[in-house]
């Protein structure tokens, strides 16, 4: 089954990309923005039918490789 993971920088970690995209959007006239944060999105097809097991595998991946827990958080979403 497919499991998705969203990796974002932790709340207080500077997000240079988000900041500059915010400025650029502002410059283009999108003035109603308070903050832009950029992250990574993964779709992982796991050979596993049990959703909780599949999610656990992806969680492990996040902890070990996909995210650096020093600066990033992750969220796991079951897609299919």
């Amino acid at each position: 089954m497919k499991v998705s993971a969203i990796i974002t920088l932790k709340k207080d970690v500077l997000d240079p990309q988000g900041k500059v995209i915010h400025q650029a959007l502002d410059g283009m006239g999108f003035e109603n923005i308070t903050e832009v944060r950029q992250g990574k999105y993964f779709e992982i097809d796991v050979n596993e039918n049990d959703p909780s097991k599949a999610k656990a595998v992806v969680e492990d991946m996040c902890k070990k490789l996909l995210a650096n827990l020093v600066i990033e958080n992750f969220k796991i979403i079951e897609t299919q």
């Binding site: 920088l9 207080d12 970690v13 500077l14 240079p16 900041k19 650096n68 020093v70 600066i71």
Partner: protein, 729 residues
Amino acid sequence: MEVNEQIAIDHGLKSDEYKKICQLLKRTPNITELGIFSAMWNEHCSYKSSRLHLKKLPTKGKKVIQGPGENAGVIDIEDGDAIVFKIESHNHPSFIEPYQGAATGVGGIMRDVFTMGARPIANLNSIHFGSPQHKKTKNLLRGVVHGIGGYGNCMGVPTIAGQTSFDSSYNGNILVNAMTLGLVKKNKIFYSKAAGLNKPVIYVGSKTGRDGIHGASMASASFDEKIEEKKPTVQVGDPFTEKLLLEACLELMAGDSIIAIQDMGAAGLTSSSIEMASKGNLGIEIDLNKVPCRETKMTPYEIMLSESQERMLIVLENGKEEIAKKIFDKWNLDFAVIGKTTNSKNIELFFNQEQVAKIPVNILVENSPMYDRKWKKSKLPKKNKIKNEVLNKFKIKDVLKKILSNQNICSKEWIWQQYDHTVMGDTIQKPGGDSGVVRVHGTNKAVAASVDSSAVYCWAHPLTGGKQVVAESWRNLISVGAKPIAITNCLNFGSPEKEDNMGEFVECVQGIGEASKYLNFPVVSGNVSFYNQTKEVGIKPTPSIGGVGLIKDYKKMISMDLKEVDNLVLIIGKTEGHIDQSLFARTILDEKNGPPPEVNLFNEKNNGESILNLIDKGYVKSAHDISLGGLLVAISKMCIKGNKGIKISKPKSLINEIEYFFAEDQGRYLIEINKEDLKEVTKILDKNSVHHEEFGIISKNDMIINEKTKLTIDELKSYYTNWLTKYMS
């Protein structure tokens, strides 16, 4: 929150230090004040364990405009030009988050340089990793290289040279030392000394977040239960903002608005404001509500201790605020007047109209602790007696193959190809040579720089090792035809609280001091990184030396690639056959004991100066210093780079073949000259009592040793170039 001794200890202060604070203040500090003390009095800012010994380093010279104590050192390169340079460590953060750790290290050192008004013109780095077999090494290496490249490339500053080593002593503590050179006009150098009363103090650059509020401040847990979310200890670098900050600062510096400027590096706003006040013998008043913050509800404590990157503090001339603001607005950077200079000689902080801290500046700086730590002297190890029978077992070809492909010798092209080394259009010697060389834009001059360290020698005998690193830096500059001017040092050691490690530090510094004094190669900047230690095991002592030299006419620059068939290659300096601590002994014989090669400073100076003389007269076609790996490794690199072969014959009267080819005796170079010049060159060398001998004749294709061993250039290349690429793929 009530401050007590335990909280002070949790901030990394010692019990005595806390008592001293209370005594000096004549009261108990509040939490913000305690944070300020802990930041100013920690090892990183106060140099409390090292100061006593660093004082002994030679820091003055005819060419020195600014020695240690400013953001970076400054040297005179004539015609009104000066070079600003410094090396700094970012070891601990790089181990936790290699990309960001290395990136912010590079960003920090560039900021130190442009704070002084200089445009960065070259970056270098010295990076050290654990054993290649260690499970973390590969990822750390990749992350660090990407981080260095990510930041330096984006800034548009070429990375022109570096050094990479692998040793199991770095398994738990990698080293990332970054060095930057900047170019400035002598009369436009900016310093951090504040002057004048009621001058506006302005804050520019990025906003302040909770980045890198130091580990010890975990003690302030009661600020918020969600401490994990709140305390990232690794800063994230933003090279784009730094590029804007660079351009904006240089634009402002072109005018006459700035009195003093200081970048916010370690301990951020705390150390920058205190440093400026202290140097100017003034007080400073800051309204923390005016500091641009990225997060909501930041406390005075957090604002003062944040290590958010890409920020600067400036003391302006009165009435120049609008001019400055306009420039920072243009570059889309934060700008805020946050305070003023005062005559109170105190640092006074206000938050929500209340005074939240008031500390006499001199207490923080002059009264900061200084320790004479206990240290143990190292004995010079006994020489190993290696029998000729043992050495004769080895075939030269096999040994050379192994050594050329050793991780500490082999080509590091996989690394430096990821660094933009040609941007700015002045790089005339790329990485992979003895030194990187960049032209001084628009002139005939060029500046050479190299970064070196020899942890193995320092570990075997710190005093000798310390001298050796300086000598090697000197040789690397000479080899490209540059006159060495000054050095910067990054002293990476274990815990100063352990006698062995402290001894290594003291004696390495002594060695560095002796060599730099003798060679008239003063130390103008640097930093100390202690506690590179995992549990009880410290790293091998690793002082990194960044050397800078001047080439007056860049067309006279020398490179190591062999130039012409039938030219002669000479060895300058005597080959005694010192095998202990050589790469041969350590990797082929597996012999880890014994003394490092002796460093004879008279010979170093004499040989180096004589080579510069030969270069100046136009006799030298290519040159390379003989260091790690010995003679055959040195000539192999010259062959590979020049795509030429060589016929070598070992003088019969001398020592054993293996010793001759793989010894690491110091003070030696290989130089290529034209046959016709031999007589004249010999005359000059003899006159100066420089030991020299003929080594070989350049040929078209193969390396032929004593008429019996033959290696093609392609073979040499494949040994030399493949290891790292294979390892990383």
